[in-house]
């Protein structure tokens, strides 16, 4: 509860900063360092799978299709959607045209206000916390 309140307070404070300010650079850099170091500190020896098993896991697509058809098709749709986002963003970035806005320029409209920037920071913090300490194997 205290961590959530601290995260909300930080988000609101950070929402009032300009992206080119020294305070914004230092605060985001410190958050990134804290999240990465806590991922190592809390996660040592607590991963669910090895890197090799994780890479090989999705490869037998036919077996997955036979055993869990809807889940496998669902994953394939996710892959297509993520590739669409990445591909269209790259295409827009390469062309540098006002007719082709990049994803970050669209997000920039949201983060141009204090409330929008604070909300985006809060979502980013929550995702970082989940990736850092979430879904660990019990010791």
């Amino acid at each position: 509860m205290a961590l959530a309140a601290a995260g909300a307070a930080f988000s609101w404070w950070e929402g009032g900063l300009h992206q080119y300010s020294t305070a914004a650079h230092w605060s985001i850099a410190v958050v990134i360092a804290l999240v990465l170091s806590s991922a190592v500190a809390f996660g040592w020896g607590r991963q669910a799978a090895t890197a090799g098993a994780w890479v090989r896991g999705p490869l037998p697509v036919r077996r997955h299709l036979a055993e869990r058809r809807y889940a496998t098709v669902g994953v394939l749709v996710w892959i297509v959607l993520v590739l669409a986002v990445v591909g269209w963003d790259l295409n827009s970035f390469v062309h540098q045209s006002h007719n082709l806005p990049t994803l970050s320029s669209i997000v920039g409209h949201v983060t141009s206000s204090r409330a929008g920037r604070a909300a985006t920071v809060a979502v980013w913090l929550a995702l970082g916390a989940a990736l850092s300490v979430g879904w660990r194997r019990r010791r």
């Binding site: 914004a24 007719n99 806005p101 980013w124």
Partner: protein
Amino acid sequence: MTPGGYVWIGIGAALAIWIVASALRRDIPGPIAVVRWFAQSWLGRTLALCAWAGAGWHLFCQRP
């Protein structure tokens, strides 16, 4: 609205439809399941954290 903006709306709508579909059907993995899959191993977690850190720096320290 620019032509590229219409494409983003289409991609956003497809994402929204798929997120709703995953919420309605238990056997379709949702966005949390996708993040959880990356968190299964150190390699996936590191890749996701690098993307997270890069996105944060870009959005909050570089782009308007």
